[in-house]
């Protein structure tokens, strides 16, 4: 069983709600536990917020792409922007690291993505953009919830 959607929306902060809603709707057929769905919702929110706030610097004429898919084992979440990129990805992933601390950012987005998924892969190049891929295994979770 394989399914996939590709979406693209303007880098407006209001569209983060939209992205989360699309994510939840896409997974409905899998009948996953609420906790799992909420984790997916959270990581989508983190990655899309980053793409808009950091990548696109809230420039509302840019587009953010969100591609979602699942197979028998995993859910795949890919968030892509063609914004400013990340200079040092390893550093960016460190807990509490943020380039926008003065704007009340906690520096926890990547940490939450890491904790709530099974794999986080960030590819970025300066002035070209950033691609965040997250993989989250559902097969065992789904079985557990059926017990």
């Amino acid at each position: 069983m394989y399914n996939e959607i590709k979406t693209s929306f303007l880098a407006k902060i209001e569209n983060v709600t939209l992205a989360r809603t699309i994510g939840v709707a896409f997974l409905v057929n899998l009948d996953l536990p609420l906790n799992f769905v909420n984790e997916v919702k959270t990581v989508i929110s983190e990655a899309v917020t980053n793409a808009i706030v950091h990548g696109c610097l809230s420039a509302e004429n840019k587009f953010v792409q969100m591609n979602l898919s699942y197979d028998d084992v995993n859910v795949y979440i890919e968030i892509i922007d063609d914004g400013i990129g990340i200079e040092d990805v390893e550093k960016a992933k460190e807990p509490l690291f943020s380039t926008k601390l003065e704007e009340e950012r906690a520096g926890l987005g990547f940490t939450i993505m890491e904790v709530f998924t099974d794999k986080l892969d960030v590819k970025s190049s300066v002035n070209k953009g950033t691609k965040v891929l997250m993989v989250k295994k559902y097969s065992e979770q789904a079985k557990l919830s059926q017990l």
């Binding site: 902060i13 917020t49 009340e104 950012r105 906690a106 926890l108």
Partner: protein
């Protein structure tokens, strides 16, 4: 927006009841509103009632830390009540639990302030 916000002021306590989802779109606006109220009414204690909050991400964490810093300057504090387990996970993971007091009801929160 996917949120409904109710606020009330009693003495130097600002009660904020959040219903729905707390994300960047909400915190951008709410931060300005609450900061103004804190200054205008000399608020020392902020009570967040999260009974009907069903989503929060790191934008919400940054927002609460920001208010914590603001109230600390006034020797005040933040009290959070009625968190559901999903929100509580974010609180644990982010360390917010360490800087906020947690109670089960608003009444309890108010009593805690009176004792302080």
């Amino acid at each position: 927006m996917a949120i409904n916000i109710q606020m009330a002021i009693r003495k130097n306590i600002l009660f904020v009841r959040l219903k729905g989802e707390l994300d960047q779109a909400v915190t951008e606006k709410l931060k300005i509103r609450i900061s103004e109220l804190i200054d205008k009414y000399d608020i020392k204690y902020l009570v967040f009632n999260l009974a009907a909050l069903n989503f929060m991400d790191s934008s919400g964490v940054g927002f609460i830390i920001g208010r914590y810093t603001q109230l600390k300057k006034r020797n005040g504090k933040i009290i959070v009540c009625s968190m559901n387990p999903l929100i509580e996970r974010i609180f644990n993971l982010s360390g917010l639990k360490k800087i906020c007091s947690v109670t089960t009801t608003e009444l309890e929160a108010e009593k805690m302030v009176e004792v302080a």
